[in-house]
């Protein structure tokens, strides 16, 4: 496709395994606008960082010029539920995020994440034990997917047994995050309807649990969400549902990809894998470098500006779609020395993998801890692990990018 726009090449499935050369090309035009009504792609580290802290940039879909034409917001934010705080601006965003945080971290629940360390280790141990006598596994299906899903279910208080049921609703929602998966035309309506329906069903499923927790609180996040009565008041039932859907989805796909990208990268850099085997403490800086080098969220496609703004001399008109290319910024040579090298020892790894500013990843402490444990245990227990196929097959999604399968062969399990 010699004439395809860069944006289309990036979302094109054929380039999923290695989009980084495209990002390098992209950075040569740090503010790229290729098609009328198309997005503005921002790819340099400092511009992305600046826009993530810019009070003229909105996450609210109703501020998109296109929103009026669409007649509705983004599909993943409808389905009868109000938008989650991911897609809201201050002050609503701040209020909901603060209330959600009372169930998640300091000062109210300082030990909720750290307190799961033991449970996380157990889950990881069970999963690896489960490899049994196999000498080859699909790391995605047998490890990287079940682990964070089990954790987020336990954290929220969602029965793990129900996972196969709600997975059928989660998948279309995750797919809808991919901007280029929107077919347009006649299929668009169908596509949108399926995402809306998935969201509604997931909401209905969760509402049963939430009602239970309202009557009978337990030690879980759902209970805290529905029962919180702080200085910010409490969430309405609909807000509780939107927030739980958000947490369930965000806690699903992203960490899977970080663990899988992580193992893939380590297998491509055996010397680092060897060091990790000797020193599990290295997992902290490995995870940070992974979030820079192979970030699971490659771009944030859901920003717009509430007024005309100027970036590097280019005027972005009010209401335009703005794509913040996190993965491109993470490899910006203006910011990182030798950016295409995977180097956990670089002193300064201020990556954009979790975003930045007020929407910076809410689940970051959880995702970090999960991935640190997962990678150090895999390194410790798998004897002589090897990649079976390089590159592995990828998922469709260009935003939440990661391998669909990762076949790993090894000589045994310690």
């Amino acid at each position: 496709m010699p004439h395809a726009s860069l944006a289309r090449q990036i979302t094109d499935f054929g380039n999923r395994a290695n989009p980084y050369p495209l990002y390098a090309e992209l950075r040569r035009t740090p503010v790229l606008h290729e098609e009328e009504d198309g997005p503005y792609l921002i790819s340099s580290y400092y511009d992305i960082e600046a826009l993530l802290h810019d009070p003229r940039i909105s996450s609210d879909a109703t501020n998109l010029a296109a929103a009026g034409a669409d007649g509705a917001g983004e599909p993943e934010e409808t389905g009868g539920l109000p938008p989650s705080f991911l897609r809201l601006d201050p002050p609503e965003h701040d209020r909901l995020r603060r209330i959600a945080n009372t169930g998640f971290g300091p000062p109210h629940r300082p030990r909720r994440i750290e307190g799961m360390r033991g449970a996380m280790r157990e889950i990881v141990t069970e999963l690896i034990d489960g490899f049994g006598d196999a000498r080859q596994v699909d790391l995605v299906d047998q490890f990287a997917y079940p682990f964070p899903v089990t954790v987020i279910c336990r954290l929220l208080g969602v029965p793990r047994e129900d996972e196969p049921t709600f997975r059928t609703w989660v998948d279309p929602l995750v797919a809808s995050l991919d901007p280029e998966k929107r077919p347009g035309g006649a299929q668009e309506a169908e596509y949108r309807q399926s995402a809306q329906e998935a969201r509604m069903r997931l909401g209905m499923y969760l509402s049963g649990l939430v009602e239970e927790r309202a009557r009978e609180p337990r030690d879980d996040l759902l209970s805290d969400l529905v029962n919180s009565r702080g200085p910010d008041g409490s969430m309405t039932m609909m807000e509780v549902l939107s927030t739980s859907v958000l947490l369930l989805i965000a806690g699903h796909e992203t960490t899977v990809n970080l663990i899988t990208n992580g193992m893939l990268t380590l297998l491509r850099h055996p010397e680092v894998l060897g060091r990790l085997r000797e020193d599990p403490g290295l997992s902290v800086s490995i995870v940070e470098e992974l979030l820079r080098y192979e970030p699971p969220v490659q771009l944030v496609p859901q920003r717009t500006c509430i007024t005309d703004i100027e970036v590097r001399g280019v005027t972005i008109p009010k209401g335009s779609r703005i794509w913040l290319m996190l993965a491109a910024g993470n490899r910006d040579p203006e910011r990182f020395e030798d950016p295409d090298r995977f180097d956990p020892d670089r002193g300064d790894i201020q990556h954009l993998g979790f975003g930045s500013g007020i929407h910076s990843c809410f689940g970051a402490p959880l995702a970090r801890l999960e991935t640190q444990i997962a990678l150090s245990e895999l390194a410790r227990r798998l004897e002589n692990p090897r990649l079976v196929e390089d590159p592995p097959p990828y998922r469709e999604n260009a935003v939440l990018r990661g391998p669909r399968h990762l076949d790993v062969a090894f000589d045994g399990v310690r």
Binding site: A50, H53, D54, P55, R56, I57, S58, D89, P90, P91, D94, I306, T307, G357, I358
Partner: protein
């Protein structure tokens, strides 16, 4: 200076740093990091190795950290001669010698002045000596205050509601101690942030149970028969019983030791150029004496080249690094100190940050959030330009406003911003007190254009 000479300085020169605290230490580390291999001497009148002060009015008062354990982390070995517990008492510019209190003299090729500031004491000496009358600047001050707060005083009285005083009052409330705070202006933080923001700080303090008294001054401290403070007398004739009094009336620059040296040093600090080189009293720049930290006043390009004195932690670090670099470089290799003033504080559960020079602003606009919710961003304007911003629990936006200041963006802020409320559509007067009156603890002081410091008038000029 010839390249030869500079090479010799870097290899075997003698560098003396007076003031062994934050700025002094960071300068020493930078000198070594940049390859200075000669003799390095640090002179400090405190008997301790460099320690950090901000925790002294925050975690230390709450008992979360010992005031005796706030040593500054070391970035690297500095291989220096330490002369601790001995003050510098004089400077002979011609002979390039520093005189010490113990009679010793130390010669230098390059000198860095980093003697900082000290707490302004209560103005009546006899009352200041009463048991229970405290200031807060040093580790000993903090340890003493912590001990007194632990003893469960019936009431603490804070004189002066600047940042330091307000932080002390906040800590007292967190400890459950009754506390009164007196302020000459109409609200806390007025000198630093103006009256509009000050009134938010006033509400915060009052809601947290501080007995706040504004538009008053303390006229006398009353002691009991054994010399302990027992009451505070105010200009409105009221009398408040208190057994701990914290005097928080700003600071005095430690420049007395430079009197008669011929440097442009005085009560407003030591004037230096953008390269941190000290001016002499005639306004001529020296080439071997440098200044950094709280004691320095230096011109800033972003603020009309007025001399700025900044009592900010971050400034002390940045200026020390620049001064150190310039001390062992020449001409084109030298760098200007262009640090954007930035300050943080926390009190009554609120995180306060500012960038730029708020007292320079005549007008204020609340561009995000709302004063009533105590969660907002305020932008200060001067002559049609953005010159400063402050956030209460809204720090994530500050970076944006910093760039607005750097590029001299127009004020009022015409473009829409997220979470703009009706109250934020128009600028309002920021409410700084008459600039010709001294306010304590503004933390940023604009002191005009003259490098010489012969007169003692406080006049941030506003053209």
């Amino acid at each position: 200076m010839s390249a030869d000479h500079l090479e010799r300085l870097r290899r075997e020169g003698r560098i003396v740093i007076v003031g062994a605290s934050l700025a002094g230490l960071r300068a020493a580390e930078t000198l070594r990091a940049e390859g200075f291999a000669g003799d390095l001497t640090l002179i400090g009148d405190e008997p301790h190795e460099p320690y950090d002060r901000p925790p002294l009015s925050k975690s230390a008062l709450l008992g979360m950290a010992s005031p005796l354990r706030t040593q500054l982390p070391r970035r690297r070995e500095i291989d220096a001669k330490w002369r601790l517990g001995v003050a510098a008492t004089g400077l002979d510019l011609a002979a390039k010698r520093v005189r010490l209190a113990d009679g010793d003299e130390v010669e230098y090729d390059r000198l860095l002045i980093a003697t900082g500031v000290r707490a302004r004491p209560w103005f009546k000496e006899e009352e200041a000596r009463l048991d229970g009358v405290c200031v807060l600047r040093t580790r000993e001050d903090a340890a003493d205050l912590v001990r007194r707060l632990r003893a469960g005083p019936r009431r603490v009285f804070v004189i002066g509601a600047g940042f330091a005083g307000s932080e002390v009052a906040s800590a007292c409330r967190e400890l459950g101690l009754p506390v009164s705070m007196a302020e000459r202006a109409g609200a806390p933080l007025v000198g630093a942030l103006g009256g509009v923001i000050g009134s938010v700080a006033a509400d915060l303090a009052t809601e947290h149970g501080v007995d706040l008294r504004t538009h008053v001054t303390v006229t006398a401290l009353e002691g009991d028969t054994v010399g302990r403070v027992r009451a505070v007398h105010l200009s409105d004739e009221s009398v408040v019983e208190a057994d701990v009094v914290v005097v928080s009336l700003g600071s005095l620059r430690n420049t007395e030791w430079l009197t008669g040296s011929g440097l442009g040093a005085g009560p407003r600090g030591v004037a230096c150029d953008a390269g941190c080189r000290a001016f002499d009293f005639r306004g001529i720049v020296t080439d071997d004496v440098f200044v950094a930290g709280d004691v320095a006043r230096s011109p800033h390009a972003l603020f009309g080249y007025q001399f700025l004195s900044l009592e900010h932690w971050g400034n002390a670090v940045a200026q020390a690094e620049t001064a150190a670099h310039n001390m062992i470089c020449d001409g084109a290799d030298r760098r200007p100190h262009l640090w954007m003033p930035a300050f943080w504080s926390s009190m009554f559960g609120v995180n306060i940050k500012s960038v730029g020079v708020p007292p320079m602003g005549e007008h204020l606009m609340i561009t995000q959030g709302s004063l009533a919710e105590r969660r907002f961003t305020g932008v200060y304007g001067h002559q049609g330009r953005v010159v400063a911003a402050v956030t209460f629990d809204n720090a994530r936006w500050l970076e944006f406003y910093q760039r607005q200041i750097e590029r001299g963006a127009p004020f009022p802020v015409e473009f829409p911003t997220l979470d703009r409320r009706p109250e934020g559509r128009q600028p309002v007067p920021a409410g700084f007190p008459d600039p010709s009156l001294p306010t304590h603890g503004p933390m940023v002081t604009l002191s005009g254009y003259s490098p010489a410091d012969q007169q003692l008038v406080f006049h941030p000029s506003r053209h």
